[in-house]
Symmetry: C2
Subunit: 420 residues, 2 copies
């Protein structure tokens, strides 16, 4: 989209946001007192701090087992009327299913509020990592004052590194756009590699913007865009307990606050879509053990929901995932996954299937039936790293995209021994 320029800076791209990150030994114990606090071990705790009080919107896991930080964050924002100043987030421990979980999450907020001299209910707290392991508070007590000291307008990389668990790459994306004649910025960071499945705000995501948007419009934009980005992502079909997607707006761009569904709101949503879509693709590409990105576009669907359901069913199928890994054009598996998608509005006798990549595009199914296609061409297409599965329902005008990855030996390896 020509209105958006991709920029660097992640969560610090927007005006008024500082960040920091460091290693404090959540999983492996405090750094040795004699070492520099920033050892060569990967950062495991991060802080974001806004120069001004911000409007905040959130979407959270729909799992009934909820991480204590999810509960505490929701409580805080309810108390503060949707206002937030800071985020504290750790990796290495999900602080979920622990008897003292909420107490510890509240303590994280208290420590952060104290260090930054802000009200406790304006702190957003999040955790990611092993479920059902007591969160050690000592490393956090040690880290929070240091994080506050280290805060900087260039701290986005330190923070984005801190939230990684089995992620192999850091995930940041930001854009620049114009609203009401003012230059606005919107950027985010995300983590997530496994335990990723639709119907929630997948994984941990923090997005900041300097565009002025009312709390209601902020929530509306976030909910709409989550539906067609993060919620259209599946790595393994497991729905995490700690998913949190936060959107925080400082308003420092100086535009007239967006308070209704006007043209500016549309521009803002487009910017949010750009960032969230690109973070979604990064998450899919970096799915645990993944070697290939799979994009499934469902078109000519009767409505958006049906298009999403069909595309997600294909993306989730272990047999489709292994077929892409094996570079085998066994497209009956795609037809099969469309057939069991939970929708009454899919007429499988109209189903068309295409495979595509940089190497070309071929049709393999027409009207629900297998076609005589070139296996050679299919092999060429499937050799690429980014594969598109295009399904046509020929029953309407709606289109949706879902993202996922192949299923490989390494997914099994990574998850067979996750806690150690």
């Amino acid at each position: 989209m020509e209105n958006f320029e991709t920029i660097s800076g992640g969560i610090c791209a927007a005006k008024g946001f500082k960040a920091s990150g460091l290693y404090c030994g959540i999983k492996h114990g405090l750094p040795d007192g004699n070492e520099s606090p920033v050892s060569n071990k990967k950062n495991d705790i991060a802080m974001i701090f806004a120069d001004v009080e911000c409007n905040a919107a959130g979407v959270y896991t729909s799992n009934k087992v909820k991480g204590a930080p999810v509960v505490v964050t929701k409580n805080n924002l309810a108390k503060s009327g949707g206002k937030a100043r800071a985020v504290i987030v750790n990796s290495g421990n999900a602080n979920t299913c622990n008897a003292d979980g909420e107490e510890k999450a509240v303590e994280m907020c208290r420590l952060t509020a104290e260090a930054l001299n802000i009200p406790m209910e304006q702190v957003i707290v999040a955790s990611t990592g092993v479920i059902g392991l007591t969160l050690p508070i000592e490393p956090i007590k040690y880290a929070v004052p240091l994080l506050a000291e280290k805060l900087s307008y260039e701290g986005n990389i330190e923070a984005a590194t801190a939230i990684m668990t089995t992620d192999t790459v850091r995930k940041e994306y930001a854009v620049k756009f114009t609203v009401d004649g003012k230059e606005c910025h919107l950027g985010g960071m995300a983590k997530g590699s496994g335990m990723i499945h639709p119907n929630m705000a997948t994984t941990l995501n923090f997005i900041t913007t300097d565009c002025a948007v009312s709390p209601e419009m902020l929530q509306k934009a976030l909910s709409e865009i989550v539906k067609i980005t993060y919620n259209c992502l599946s790595v393994d079909g497991d729905q995490s307990t700690n998913d949190t997607c936060m959107l925080i707006a400082s308003g420092l761009a100086g535009n007239t606050e967006i308070t209704s569904e006007n043209e500016d709101f549309q521009t803002f949503k487009d910017a949010l879509y750009q960032v969230m879509k690109n973070l979604t693709i990064m998450l899919a590409k970096d799915g645990e053990g993944a070697t290939k990105l799979i994009t499934c576009v469902c078109s000519s669907a009767p409505d958006l929901d049906t298009a999403i359901i069909a595309a997600k069913s294909v993306i989730r199928s272990p047999l489709v995932k292994t077929m892409i890994y094996g570079e085998d054009a066994n497209c009956g598996r795609i037809a099969c996954a469309v057939g069991y998608a939970e929708s009454d509005k899919i007429d499988v006798t109209k189903l068309d299937i295409f495979l595509a990549s940089k190497a070309g595009k071929i049709q393999t199914y027409k009207d629900g039936l297998n076609m005589d296609f070139s296996e050679e061409k299919a092999a060429e297409i499937l050799k690429e790293d980014e594969i598109e599965i295009l399904i046509g329902l020929n029953s309407g005008e709606a289109t949706a995209t879902a993202w996922g990855c192949d299923l490989t030996y390494d997914y099994v390896k990574i998850n067979g021994d996750y806690r150690s």
Copy 2:
């Protein structure tokens, strides 16, 4: 159960059922004319033939993409008023998503009816294997008369071998029981290893009995028992297009026909449960790439449906499956899977979790919270080949069991290149 004696004989255990199987080259071409028709290649086509007209009941895939044989079998039984004499079934090709699929499935019935001199609509046809590949009819034309010649009351092993695809073991089970003072027999064979997921009659299953049961009661028993056996099985979350579970009753045991829900009906259902439960366990154990059988028992649930939903959610979770493979007691993943189970009736704050095997039993979660348990003991328990995950919802009296297997490197290997 003391009323049931496990016996051999599979689908030939009941009076009046002959079977046969042979290799005809569905996938790899006709056997060389100079060779014996029974080469050392695995059987790929089987026939069952009843001495008398039987009552037949069926449960079929709920996938909207249905194999042509599923459609043809349903049509036949509708025409025959639920009467059947013969089954013809091949592996190596699912005959699904093919333009000439129904024509070929009908032709299989015609050939069988001709060879056995019975009405065409009394033939049950089934196919399993690759989807979207034209079914070669020549091997079937060659095979059917030979299968008819070879039919024998000891043909169950030849037949059970013929329906295997990626199965590594043959799956047969049979019991002897008494109804109305008469000795009855009920036995079955099953195939299935991948593309296995609840909400359907998983895979191909054929069960025969000499117990006299009316068509209505036969269907009622089958539907009830499918719900708590095959439908509580998940290997990979993919729902096949060709699932067919047939129950065929010859009535030759000589008992008064069961026509209502009396005590005899209960005895018959118990026998059916024994056979179907044991076939389900065999299917789970032989899941593609599986090294461990996982049994999840959900107890103290508010009702049966909730118990099934919770147990199946755990069995299906890729992260639970890899944790069992890795012998890692990361029970937060079990709590997580219960948390996203699709039921409003689960109170996760009451959730108890236990791990058990021949090596012992330990509790790891109480009231939804992680407990301090012995990792050593857990490691001992998880070293075994058959693992039980016990979840207590503490909200009622209902119990259900679901069966599955671990997720291993070999699942990926088997499915990365299935067609060749």
